[in-house]
């Protein structure tokens, strides 16, 4: 078991003929991901990745011909929201959007449509999702992961890798790791992913990594307090970030109040979550939490 993706996921890559799409689709296939189709408007009928993957003009065609049920998006920012909407309208169940720099106004509309169609979206501006040894739907280095029982959930890409690295070092493998992205508007929220980890019988504990800005970590903490039976270890990046400055992610904006690292850590602690003051303690604290 795992969440969102597994070995049965049939993947269509939107933007497969672009440089990013080609590179990462190749990496995903090497990991074992079942990529059944690619989409590039105007290139329908061609093939990609050394004739291994058929290319279609639109997502709808790729579904008809290959039965694709999951999509991953590598199209440039001006067209990324359209690609999300296209996949959702065509009936794709899960869309992962890797693209960084999607205009917020575009995402507000796309979010409204995917919610209406009940499409699951991960991202945009995220590393994607990986179910260890089954399916990699993203750009993370698959080899750093090890199969096991911990779910990893994070707003940040390289911090996800850091957490996975530490878990492996203390002998803990993972079920699924998911990077939800740090943009102002994202599909899958922390609570959405936590619900799935809570329901997944193989997941025994969850690492939750947030950062300054927004209220998502606080909402997640309160949800955990009321609903989560599994141990959660949390970390918030940005304890030293100066107020009012933007640090890379649009999400990482401190506007005062409960969206500072300090406030989020306090709320997490109050909700019974094991909070790491130092990023270096994630692995050890997860191990300790499992033993209690």
């Amino acid at each position: 078991m795992s969440i969102l993706v597994n070995k049965d996921s049939k993947v269509v890559v939107q933007g497969i003929t672009g440089s990013e799409g080609t590179f990462h689709a190749t990496q995903m296939i090497e990991y074992g991901t079942n990529i059944v189709a690619g989409v590039t408007p105007g290139k329908g009928g061609q093939t990609a990745l050394d004739s291994k993957v058929p290319v279609f003009n639109c997502v709808e065609d790729s579904i008809k011909e290959t039965g694709a049920n999951v999509s991953i998006i590598f199209v440039p920012p001006p067209y990324a929201a359209d690609a999300i909407i296209e996949a959702s309208e065509a009936g794709i169940e899960l869309v992962v959007c890797i693209t960084e720099g999607v205009p917020v106004h575009d995402m507000v509309k796309a979010k409204r449509i995917i919610d209406q169609n009940k499409t699951k979206l991960v991202g945009p501006n995220c590393p994607g999702i990986i179910t260890i040894d089954e399916c990699k739907l993203g750009i993370m280095p698959g080899f750093i992961c090890k199969k096991g029982n911990i779910g990893v959930l994070s707003k940040s890409g390289t911090l996800t890798y850091e957490a996975i690295g530490q878990l492996v070092n203390v002998g803990l493998g993972q079920t699924t790791a998911i990077g939800i992205g740090g943009d102002p508007i994202i599909g899958t929220t922390m609570i959405d992913a936590l619900k799935l980890f809570e329901e997944d019988p193989e997941t025994e504990g969850v690492v939750l990594i947030g950062e300054i800005g927004g209220q998502m970590e606080n909402d997640a903490a309160r949800w955990i307090k009321d609903n989560m039976s599994k141990p959660v270890v949390g970390f918030i990046a940005g304890q030293t970030a100066p107020p009012g400055r933007r640090m890379g992610h649009a999400g990482a904006i401190v506007s005062g109040g409960d969206d500072t690292a300090e406030a989020k850590m306090r709320i997490m602690l109050e909700c019974g979550i094991t909070v790491c003051e130092s990023v270096a303690d994630i692995g050890d604290k997860m191990k300790a939490a499992l033993q209690n």
Partner: protein
């Protein structure tokens, strides 16, 4: 991306939003003719002299002066142009005033606050108004939240008259002013959508003695990711308002923010970069910067990163923390060596590389003969770099 008030008002004008109008000057020799032009064109003796900087809180800092006569207006303009304006948003160092906006003065009956921005928790845009205009709205939100009226707008439907009516009602407007306000609010929403703004704020929007609705200020923040479709707005960028080092870094596609400490750091990924700053602090040091070099940490990127970090002469040691996923650590290590050699780096550099070929990378670094200290993990790296900074 932010713009100046006078630029924001030009945008308002193009959307038909009534503004307190005027002209901007950069040269003190233009002051008198411009003051006279404003007086004549807008049929007013009194004018308002307004410093054009991006930071808010100009009024309290002395950057907005009501000037009842030509002489006073001239005196105020002379004082303001070139002054270092300090507000609660500029920090202690303040911001140099390079442009002054001379506008008509209006007889004001009431001041209101209004703004449109994204409500992340609702994933919808929210239009907010308050009868408590002209003051710090954060205080109103905190102390008397009931005085802020909000409507959320469905992105697929857009703003409708009933939304605008609710806002105008909430401000207690009646008669012609009520009707005008409704039109202004809908235009404001069109402007917000049409410019890919992340914030459009008018504080204050005023009701004049003659019952007109006028925007006294115009504050915009635009979504940088959408500027590809707004070349005209992108041109309004004023790099004088930006930190020179941060501007330089952005030319190399590096995301840099200067801080007050002495431990420089270079990291791939914004989250890991913040976590690296945090762990430096926990180890007893003070981070000198935030620097995200993005996905690909090539020799060129590392070199540019060093240059940016070292432009701050407080830096006593540098920590490079790269989690190599797709990028191989041995390549990063060679890149670091090359950059250190080429720049003749004097400050100690602690390098922590994790991921693909990490062991190989450590060997390359320790055999280089340069003052590069390899670290095993983040805790180790933080301790080593803080020690190095203290001993340097």
């Amino acid at each position: 991306m932010k713009i100046h008030e006078y630029q924001g008002k030009d945008i308002f004008k193009s959307y038909g939003i009534p503004i307190q109008d005027g002209y901007v000057i950069e040269d003190i020799n233009d002051a008198l003719p411009t003051i006279e032009k404003v007086q004549k064109e807008f049929n007013t003796k009194a004018v308002v002299v307004k410093a054009q900087i991006h930071a808010g809180g100009r009024g309290k800092g002395g950057g907005v002066k009501y000037s009842p006569s030509t002489d006073i207006a001239l005196k105020n303009t002379k004082e303001m142009l070139g002054m270092n304006l300090v507000t609660h948003q500029t920090g202690e160092e303040g911001q140099k005033v390079r442009k002054v906006y001379i506008t008509q003065a209006l007889d004001i009956k009431n001041e209101y606050y209004c703004a449109i921005t994204l409500d992340r928790s609702q994933t919808k845009d929210v239009f907010m108004v308050s009868s408590e205009g002209g003051v710090e709205i954060e205080k109103v939100a905190e102390e008397t939240p009931e005085k802020i009226i909000k409507v959320w707008i469905d992105p697929l439907v857009g703003m409708k008259s009933f939304h605008a009516m609710k806002l105008a009602n909430g401000l207690g407007l009646t008669g012609e002013a009520y009707k005008t306000a409704i039109k202004v609010f809908i235009k404001m929403y069109k402007c917000y959508m049409g410019t890919d703004a992340s914030i459009v704020e008018i504080n204050p929007l005023v009701l004049t003695e003659t019952d007109e609705i006028v925007a006294l200020d115009a504050k915009f923040n635009f979504d940088g990711n959408a500027m590809f479709r707004h070349k005209d707005i992108a041109e309004l960028r004023d790099t004088n308002e930006e930190d020179p080092t941060e501007l330089e870094a952005s030319k190399y596609d590096l995301n840099y923010i200067k801080l007050d400490g002495n431990v420089g750091c270079m990291v791939n990924g914004a989250g890991l970069a913040m976590a690296t700053m945090d762990i430096i602090k926990l180890a007893g040091g003070e981070p000198a910067n935030f620097l995200d070099v993005g996905g690909a940490a090539s020799a060129e990127t590392v070199k540019n990163g060093f240059k940016i970090i070292l432009s701050d002469d407080h830096v006593k040691a540098i920590l490079i923390n790269i989690f190599g996923g797709i990028v191989r650590c041995d390549r990063v290590a060679n890149g670091v060596i090359k950059a250190v050699e080429e720049l003749g780096l004097k400050v100690p550099v602690v390098v922590r590389l994790e991921g693909t070929n990490a062991e190989e990378a450590k060997n390359i670094l320790s055999k280089s003969g340069l003052d590069i200290i390899p670290a095993n993990d983040m805790k180790d790296a933080a301790r080593k770099v803080v020690d190095a900074a203290i001993n340097n």
